[in-house]
């Protein structure tokens, strides 16, 4: 996989800072991916160890048939509005998603969301991947050296911290290094998936799979199914922090839309279904537990070590665009901080979480659904802004103009319609389904929580933006009506 910003077009502009160029609009000659390329990128991204983990956790709640249904429904819903919110506009304008969020939330509002919702989401995922590395190495140690380290032992923490250190090293080297590692990690994970499939076909009958009981369900079957759907919808929408940065490199709307949706959906479903089947067969949701019984001591250990390394590079990939976003969203505050130090700062919380490996695994579903609550509401607001209110038209110049000179300055840099929509959508989500207490509203059994949260976010945004800004000709909602038109001179001040 190639990481955005690693394109050849950058080589002749080495003097420009990585983060700054990363936020500039790409030109036609730099948009290098056709539909086939972008499908490959998305498949490589989706066939990752987190898909096994999601498959394993889905098996906690439901059996095989219900699990497949939940994965299809959840991912179809979550990916649908994630793609509409991030891929479409980033493709058209050649800009990553965080700069394109300025019309929806204002430049300060984007900063608030990046430093809360996005940062916490990505920190959670990277700490989970690091802990998975620790557990994988512990499994190898127990098998090869007859040690008896548990899944929450200090050895897990030690190797999780080591994984974070290596992730930081890769990330601090920049996107080209990440791309180099991913070139062989993605095919390797595809082979691991195929290996698991072959093993399952040889050692498990279809009947056994379809009759296997879920591993740790609640008493209410319908609740279990809807929780599984919601969990998968949360996973689908959690691609948001990554996808815009990739879609900007595609050559046409169709080359972006269908490969993003189809590539992620199909590859995710395959990897998750294989993961769920493995979990139901072996009775454990943790992918690091599957490999020894499947591969034996030598091959199993090799696969586990490969998965450990794959997690390190996956973590670097997802963190890259987030650290870029942090730098852009901070304004002048972090613009002078060295890239390596910024990356190190990102990993502080994941490193602390590595001391609580059991907590992160136990709360995995809560974390995914909670972050899904905010991301769904964000997506609803973004869709209402871009498709309904702006009719797919954004003023590129105003995205980059600082302060009051920008049409997207709103009030003190905050579009209160966007912030209100996120809060309203997330509150509605938590009213329908509270992932911590597991309290649900009857509506949850029919609509999930992500979908209504996105709808509420969109409707609230439409109403508030119309009343607060559009009617007063603020925010450039109707082309050319905003008093402040961006000029090259004002961009010079940026």
């Amino acid at each position: 996989m190639t990481i955005p910003g690693a394109s050849g077009a950058r080589s002749d502009r080495a003097q420009l800072d990585t983060a700054s160029l990363g936020s500039l609009p790409l030109l036609k000659k730099e948009r290098i991916w056709n539909a086939s390329d972008f499908t490959g990128v998305n498949v490589a991204l989706a066939i990752a160890t987190w898909a096994f983990l999601v498959g394993g956790f889905t098996a906690l709640l439901v059996g095989f048939q219900q699990g497949i249904a939940a994965m299809i429904i959840g991912n179809a819903i979550g990916l649908c509005f994630m793609v509409l919110a991030s891929v479409v506009s980033s493709q058209r304008y050649g800009i990553e998603q965080y700069t394109l969020l300025r019309p929806v939330f204002g430049v300060v509002g984007v900063g608030v969301l990046v430093f809360t919702v996005i940062l916490i989401t990505e920190m959670g995922w990277s700490s989970l991947l690091a802990i998975m590395v620790g557990r994988a190495v512990t499994q190898v140690s127990n098998s090869a050296f007859s040690t008896d380290f548990g899944p929450e032992s200090l050895l897990v923490t030690f190797f999780a911290l080591l994984a974070i250190a290596v992730s930081w090293w890769i990330l601090s080297r920049g996107p080209v290094t990440i791309g180099r590692f991913n070139k062989f990690i993605a095919p390797g994970l595809l082979i691991v998936t195929l290996f698991l499939m072959v093993y399952l076909v040889l050692n498990t009958s279809v009947d056994t799979l379809f009759t296997a009981a879920p591993l740790a369900p609640f008493e209410d079957d319908q609740l279990n199914f809807m929780l599984a759907v919601e969990f998968n919808a949360g996973v689908g929408v959690s691609w948001y922090p990554v996808m815009g940065s990739l879609a900007r490199l595609t050559r046409s709307p169709r080359a972006a839309l269908w490969p993003a949706y189809g590539g992620l959906l199909i590859a995710t479903l395959i990897a998750q279904i294989v993961g769920m089947a493995a979990a139901l067969t072996l009775g454990d949701s943790d992918p690091t537990v599957w490999m020894m019984p499947f591969g034996g001591p030598v091959l199993g250990a090799f696969i586990l070590l490969f998965i450990a390394f794959a997690n390190v590079t996956s973590s670097s990939s997802i963190v890259y665009s987030t650290v870029l976003a942090i730098r852009q969203a901070s304004g002048n505050l972090l613009s002078r901080v060295r890239w390596a130090w910024l990356c190190a700062g990102f990993f502080v919380l994941p490193a602390l979480l590595a001391f609580f490996p059991g907590f992160m695994y136990d709360k995995f579903m809560v974390f995914v659904t909670l972050s899904g609550a905010f991301l769904s509401a964000m997506c609803g607001a973004i869709i209402a802004d871009y498709f309904v209110l702006r009719r797919q038209r954004v003023s590129l110049r105003d995205l980059y103009v600082p302060g009051r000179a920008s049409a997207y300055h709103f009030n003190g840099g905050v579009n209160w319609a966007g912030m209100g929509a996120v809060l309203a959508g997330a509150a509605f989500y938590l009213w329908i389904y509270n992932p911590i207490t597991l309290e649900t509203h009857p509506l949850f059994s029919y609509t999930t929580a992500s979908l209504p949260a996105a709808v509420v976010g969109g409707v609230v945004y439409f109403v508030m933006a119309t009343l607060l800004y559009k009617r007063r000709n603020i925010g450039d909602f109707v082309a050319g009506t905003t008093a402040a038109g961006a000029s090259p001179a004002r961009i010079e001040q940026a």
């Binding site: 036609k28 819903i77 649908c80 479409v88 709307p253 949706y261 009719r391 980059y400 961009i491 940026a494």
Partner: protein, 57 residues
């Protein structure tokens, strides 16, 4: 504004000018058509319905 800022501002202005003129009507910058949008949402709904259908098999 230091030299790095000036470089970025110049680069940005150059890119915006190219996008405004040379690439203005390029197919790569077309908006998503209503038909494509409807098809995309329709396909997503059909896939979700297939998931529901899976339950009744």
């Amino acid at each position: 504004m230091d030299a790095a800022d000036a470089n970025i501002a110049t680069e940005l202005e150059s890119r915006l000018s190219i996008i405004d003129t040379i690439e203005r009507d390029d197919p790569s910058r077309r908006e998503l058509s209503g038909a494509d949008l409807s098809l995309f949402v329709g396909v997503s709904v059909v896939i979700a319905l297939l998931g529901i259908l899976m339950l009744s098999l």
